[in-house]
Amino acid sequence: MILRAERLNKWYGRVIALNDVSLGIEAGITGILGPNGAGKTSLMRIAIGLMRSSSGRIEVLGQDPWNNPALAVRLGYCPEHDGFYEWMTGRDFVTSLARIRGVRDPRAAAEAALERVRLREVADRRVLTYSRGMRQRLKIAQALAHGPELLVLDEPLTGCDPLVRAELIALIKAFPAEGKSVLVSSHVLHEIEQLTPRIVLIHKGRLVAEGDVHEIRDLIDDHPHTVRVATDRPRELAAALAREEGVVEIRFENGSVWVRTDAPDRFYRRLPLLALAERCVLREISSEDDNLEAVFRYLTER
């Protein structure tokens, strides 16, 4: 077992981030699913030793992560938000972090990690100039460079375009074959579903369910989804989407198309094909929390 938590609690003043969470996670890829503010990041930060729990116990790779540098170097963490030494080049960033993690040959380790995430060609550019997708890949590169046993990835696919998303999914799915385990969070079921069937559901700091994604999926599909699609030709894409089965509402906001669909599977399958046919560049696809919120309400109230 790579992670075991017993009655884990975390409070920020009067706000409860984690409420009596007990769980066990086996080696391999495990998805942590929950809407924003559910407590996913808190759980991850406690698991990597960045944050201390208010009460309860947690063990990662058999050790308490709090103030445990020997364990910290066995973990790789990709934070949700961007935090970089913006003045550095990508290569410099990964090399410097590999060095402070005690890697014998940080340059070689950084090169291998950058190659792995396909960033070598732009590695000499300053991080300041990187696109959203490049930044996500750079965060994963720094998490990989020191050869960790467990990767903790907090919303690694957020804001990525479909191509980068597909690349990152392929990359993450390859880790277990190398003996690495992955803990990956998301608020989008379809993202997690592409990575692993094993999920942990968290809502308002509580563990709602854990197990196979397919059972949750059936519940999700009963509820309409709202998806935001950022594209260079929103009107053309909207016209094409309007002809699709299952699309119940389309609206425009801040240059993006907001689509409400009661057939999300079909929607996600058809969207790239429609974009190709209409010659639209898809810049970003993001799903609102409402989809999951409805399911979580159902799960917590039943």
Binding site: V73, H81, G102
Partner: protein
């Protein structure tokens, strides 16, 4: 050791990137510019020795070092949370106490070097004055740098400890400095002997003023002034206390910044 060296290099590079570097450079550039202007425009009345001592006494060894230490001490700690880089640092092979120690020592060394350069250029400018041009500018600047280094180390460790222990370190640091250093230093009471400023002045007296309470010391009001040895001991103990406080605070630091949930 490899990780410690790597972290020291990263800290030094991070210190001198962005706005903080410009602020430090501006603070350091002011004394030589003022000294050169006064020496150049003062004509026959420009007194080099008095000029250097005045600038060192009132600006470099008081205002400059506190501001530098405040900017960098807070930036080293809460700045990492603002930048979102603290997670990368704490997930290294170094314990948190070592991170706090390395950050404090590297920053103190870097700022002392900058202060030293500033004082050397100020001394060189004062050496060009017509009246009593400053002699042995290099040696005088080195002595002043020694005092500056002590001041920076004690102030920086204090602000670093504040940054690690409090949620609003800037306010705590500024309030403490104001009441302890600015108000208390100016009062003619026994407690004034326990301020950093007066202990730095006690170091300055034999090093920069040849033990003579000259013209610039007439502004120092408190009657109870520590001896050189007492000042050295007091500042060493204070640095040690602040450093230990910073290391303990670092070990208890749970990163619950804006990304926490």
């Amino acid at each position: 050791m490899r990780a410690a060296t790597g972290f020291a290099v990263l800290t030094a590079r991070n210190l001198f990137s962005g706005k903080r570097a410009w602020a430090a450079l501006l603070l350091a550039a002011l004394p030589p510019v003022v000294a050169a202007t006064v020496a150049g425009l003062g004509g026959e009345k420009a007194d080099g020795t008095l000029l250097f001592q005045g600038i060192a006494f009132f600006y470099s060894l008081r205002i400059m070092l506190y501001l530098m230490a405040l900017i960098f001490g807070i930036a080293l700690t809460s700045g990492e949370i603002e930048d979102g880089t603290v997670g990368y640092i704490y997930l290294g092979s170094l314990p948190k106490w070592a991170i706090a120690l390395i950050q404090s020592l590297v920053a103190a060394a870097a700022l002392t070097a900058l202060a030293g350069l500033s004082l050397l250029l100020t001394a060189a400018a004062a050496g060009m004055a017509a009246l009593h041009p400053l002699e042995a500018a290099g040696a005088t600047a080195a002595k002043a740098t020694l005092v500056a280094g002590v001041g920076i180390l004690v102030s920086l460790t204090f602000y670093t400890a504040c940054g690690l222990a409090f949620k609003r370190p800037l306010i705590v640091g500024i309030v403490a400095t104001f009441f302890w250093e600015i108000v208390l230093t100016a009062l003619p009471i026994r407690m004034a002997a326990y301020t950093v400023t007066n202990n730095l002045r006690a170091l300055m007296l034999p090093l920069l003023f040849d033990g003579d309470r000259g013209r610039w010391y007439r502004y120092v009001r408190n009657y109870d002034f520590p001896a050189y040895g007492e000042a050295a001991l007091f500042l060493s103990v204070l640095t040690g206390l602040f450093l230990v406080a910073a290391m303990v605070a670092a070990m208890n630091r749970s990163v619950e910044g804006k990304e926490a949930n």
